[in-house]
């Protein structure tokens, strides 16, 4: 937990950096959840066989690029894509652990 450094306002970069990174991790975790959900849905549709070859190829490429982009974003913020998660206490974690 970020340590509060007292009632003084402002210029405590350590606090801000910490909070900033927490916030980025949170946002990326939510985005990653959406990405995984979309990927699952795409796989289901492919298995059902109701997509044309062109659609499969397009969706697959898009998801592939999306994964690459997410990996880059994580990298830029010193995070690992596989490590993104949110612990919801009694509900377990937000993303399924591989």
């Amino acid at each position: 937990m970020t340590e509060r450094t007292g009632p003084r306002e402002g210029r405590f970069d350590v606090d801000r950096d910490h909070m900033g990174r927490d916030l980025v991790a949170l946002v990326l975790t939510v985005v990653e959840l959406l990405r995984q959900l979309m990927e699952r849905q795409a796989i289901r549709r492919v298995e059902q066989g109701d997509l044309s070859d062109g659609q499969v190829e397009q969706i697959g490429e898009t998801l592939m690029h999306l994964e690459d982009r997410m990996t880059e974003l994580c990298d830029q913020h010193g995070l690992q894509l596989d490590d993104l998660n949110l612990d919801l206490g009694p509900l377990g974690s937000l993303l399924p652990r591989s």
Partner: protein
């Protein structure tokens, strides 16, 4: 915990660790309990004896507990101190261990309240006689982490349709990973059920506890799939240990057994 020598009457509460029938006071000597300086002692409540201690009231309010629960070191200290008293008392015979934290405004209140519940306690004490609690935790290896996706995947030689491009190959690969994960998950669940079923047959009572997440264990190489606890007759314990060994061989899972515990998990209405 701070001492409160010569503190006025209202400044202490009575903390209750456990309830039993008979108690040999000697087993409680030297125990610190939750408040240094106040003895851990027996308090007769009708046909029963409660194991109690005076504690500073101010340190055991609702707020104080909430703070304590968020402080890992303080929580550990309390849990172990509580457990030490409970375990010592249980050496004399069947004991109903109480959870953290049961407090009364004073000895008289405690005596009154516990005495009123004497019948319930008697039922539980009868059930716990000649029994101990044994915990079983089962682990399976976590799946191997998938290799990180290369920027352009080579066309995948499997799959149904002709002309596999990079997009389709990506989806095929992901599908394979998901399926492998599901199969591993299903196998793990089946193993957990098998172990629980086998041990439940030997137990007087059983309870499932929440499995420990990787955040709690700090382990990533294995996953806990079962955290169960069994109320066992003393003479059946060897049978449990033998059954566990057999299950280890058969399922290949890691099984950890802990016990004997004073039956915390079976003290309530079961």
């Amino acid at each position: 915990m701070t001492e409160q020598p010569g503190a006025p009457e209202g400044a202490t509460s009575t903390y209750v660790f456990a309830v039993c029938r008979r108690l040999d006071p000697a087993v409680l000597t030297g125990l610190a309990g939750l408040a240094e300086g106040c003895p851990v002692r027996g308090l007769r409540c009708g046909p029963l004896t409660a194991v109690v201690q005076h504690v500073p009231a101010a340190e055991f309010t609702e707020d104080a507990w909430q703070r304590r629960l968020s402080d890992r070191a303080a929580l550990e200290h309390c849990a172990r101190a509580h457990h030490e008293v409970v375990t010592a008392a249980a050496a004399c015979g069947p004991t109903v261990p109480l959870a953290l934290a049961t407090l009364y405004r004073g000895d008289e209140r405690a005596r009154e309240a516990l005495g009123a519940d004497a019948d319930r306690f008697t039922v539980v004490l009868d059930r716990l006689e000649n029994h101990a609690e044994w915990g079983v935790k089962v682990y399976v290896p976590a799946t191997a982490r998938p290799p990180s996706a290369p920027a352009s995947a080579a066309p995948h030689p499997g799959g149904g349709s002709a002309g596999g491009g990079a997009g389709r190959a990506y989806l095929e690969r992901k599908r394979g990973l998901h399926r492998a994960r599901e199969q591993h998950h299903d196998r793990a669940l089946r193993t957990a059920e098998d172990v629980d079923a086998a041990l439940t047959r030997l137990a007087t009572a059983t309870r499932r506890l929440r499995p420990h997440s990787p955040e709690m264990t700090g382990e990533t190489h294995r996953l806990q799939i079962l955290n169960a606890t069994y109320l066992m007759r003393t003479e059946r314990v060897q049978g449990l240990l033998d059954a566990v060994e057999g299950l280890r061989q058969r399922t290949g899972a890691e099984v950890e057994v802990s016990g004997p515990w004073v039956p915390y998990s079976f003290a309530g209405e079961v």
